[in-house]
């Protein structure tokens, strides 16, 4: 029997008061919820890919299980790990625990999600960091939501199919077989209106003129040709925090926008070549104005 035959979940994700989700993103999450398929999220750094899983879990009131992938992560670590070496060592010391192999099996994130009494949200963060074969090794587990524990002969089956959210930063391309099983959503960089909504969520009482000036300057920066790393939403929010803390007013931001690199550029630009480039550009702008 497939666990997917449990009645479809009537819950819907409609964004939260701390996270502004665009309509197509909501649709994507809801489609993944209804059809119980993994949702793959890509997008520029700093567009809130990881945040999404946290907010979905909070909105649906599901526990969130996170699996942060590194370059050394292996697929089976998400299921379980059998610590043979410490069992061997314990056997030499005559430890009683040795008799039960289950004592040496450590449950991974997916195991925890599968045996949870509540439906869960599982975040597999930055899947592209791992080896190129990593996603392929998880195909069956994500498809059937079950796996076999060879050491104990158990089969672990999901009681509730978790909502799996996978993020990728595009460092490696993912195998086709894996992609076919996922829904795919690309979080676009927010346009002005969405960005304004996002800022309002974080700084509800920001003055309109400061926000307007900061956004003008920010989008101008993003349009600057040849920037190595474009500033992202999260960097914009950090920058706003700085501007507010220093009580800088709109006039000063505007003044900087037309003559030189932004005030406190360190929050926006993380690359000294980019700062150099901007200095040259603004120098040119000054010369043409004279």
């Amino acid at each position: 029997m497939k666990p997917s035959q449990s009645p479809p979940n009537p819950r819907r994700f409609a964004g939260t008061d701390r996270y502004v989700a665009t309509d197509d993103l909501k649709l994507a999450v809801n489609a993944a919820l209804t059809l119980q398929r993994p949702l793959l999220i890509k997008g520029e750094p700093g567009t809130g890919k990881t945040m999404l899983a946290e907010e979905v879990a909070q909105a649906l009131n599901y526990p969130l299980l996170q699996w942060h992938v590194k370059s050394t992560t292996k697929a089976h670590q998400g299921l379980y790990e059998y610590d043979a070496v410490s069992r061997l060592r314990d056997s030499q010391l005559g430890d009683e625990r040795v008799r039960d192999i289950a004592n040496y099996i450590r449950k991974g994130v997916l195991w925890q999600a599968f045996e949870s009494d509540l439906p869960t949200v599982v975040l597999i963060d930055e899947i592209d960091k791992a080896d190129i074969e990593f996603p392929n090794d998880l195909l069956r587990e994500l498809d059937q939501m079950e796996f076999h524990v060879y050491e104990t002969g158990q089969t672990i089956r999901a009681r509730h199919r978790p909502l799996v959210i996978i993020t990728s930063n595009n460092e490696k391309e993912l195998p086709d077989a894996f992609l076919r099983r996922c829904f795919f959503h690309y979080i676009q960089f927010p346009d002005r209106d969405t960005l304004r909504d996002i800022v309002k969520v974080h700084y509800p009482d920001i003055k309109t003129d400061i926000l307007r000036a900061a956004m003008d300057h920010f989008f101008m920066l993003r349009d600057a040709p040849g920037l190595k790393k474009k500033p992202s939403t999260s960097e914009f929010l950090d920058w706003l925090a700085l501007l507010l803390a220093e009580e800088i007013d709109a006039a000063r931001i505007d003044a900087h926008a037309s003559t030189s690199i932004p005030i406190m550029a360190g929050a926006l630009l993380k690359n000294e070549q980019d700062i150099g480039l901007l200095e040259r550009l603004s120098g040119l702008a000054r010369q043409t104005r004279r």
């Binding site: 489609a31 060592r89 829904f183 000294e272």
Partner: protein, 390 residues
Amino acid sequence: MFIDFFYHLKNHKLPVSVKEYLTLLEVLRERVMPPSLDDFYVLARLTLVKDETLFDRFDQAFALFVKNLPATMPAGPDIPLDWLISQMQKNMTPEEKAALEKHGWDKLMEMFKERLKEQKERHAGGSKWVGTGGTSPFGNSGYHPEGIRVGGPSAGNRTAVKVWEERRFKEYDDQQELGTRNFKVALRRLRRFAREGAAEELDLDDTIRSTARNAGFLDVKMVPERHNAVNVLMLLDVGGSMDDHIARVEELFSASRSEFRNLEVWYFHNCPYERFWRYDTGGRRVYTDTWELLRTYNTNWRVLIVGDATMSPYEIVHPGGSVEHYNKEAGAVWLARILDAWPKAVWLNPEPQAYWQYRQSIDVVRNIMQNHMYPVTMTGLEAAMRQLSK
């Protein structure tokens, strides 16, 4: 059914699979969305396209599909939505139909027509965005659907029509034969495994041996994991005619970066002479004698020369032929020295192979390289790596 749509996408070289198509049908049956063209667009993209570089191609294909609908359906701008709903109804149970009726599909149609009307009025006003009339998905050339921008909170999906017409994902579409993954897979053929670094893996043989020697008391031995330890020297042609190939070369470069841990990169222009350079942080060239390089890297290094070899033949065969400086010895002499020092060397040429025969200089270089010139494509790279790992 949406079978036509599926084949239409396939014809437009979108890699959609039957499984994904079935998923799309499942989504439609589950009523995840209200029946509108806008949401259908989002859902179809969500289920069928798994790569943002293909979004633009999908947008174009979708626009074309919607545009071509009136040809098979009765004419009129409101047909696509109508047609879509009727198509969907075929797949629906009576209960589902009833639910749809309740949602008020008449009202949906009303809204749609209203928007069209409003759009025309704006058109009369002569706003700028009307200019691209020819691309309308509804087959009328006088307006652009981007104009269907109606206020009011209920028209929540107003951006979607605009989305595929606007081709927002254009910049992501690379249209290149190869992505970095393919490059990386091809480069992987060049592997020399070695164990170095931190000990992370259990060395079973050694553990058994030392445990036995230890009179049966466990003595765990670890070894470092195996890594690709091949040494690669990359000589890159920059500037001039290579500007046309920047994107391709950058991909190759980033793939090599992540695939080879010992990668050294030096630059030259058109043809290798008595000096190479690297760039300092200010972007200025810092020169190094070729002799210096020949001494520094031993014969174990694999050499990838990346260049289009497109120049005047004089630049290769004559002393003083360089376009940048006066070179005492001809490029051919230097190339021969490079081959002498590093027998495992190949030339990768980003220029399409079909043009090679028309460029005399490519022929010359190829002769010097003893035919080991390969195009920067999947098969070319594979052949090159096979040559290097021999």
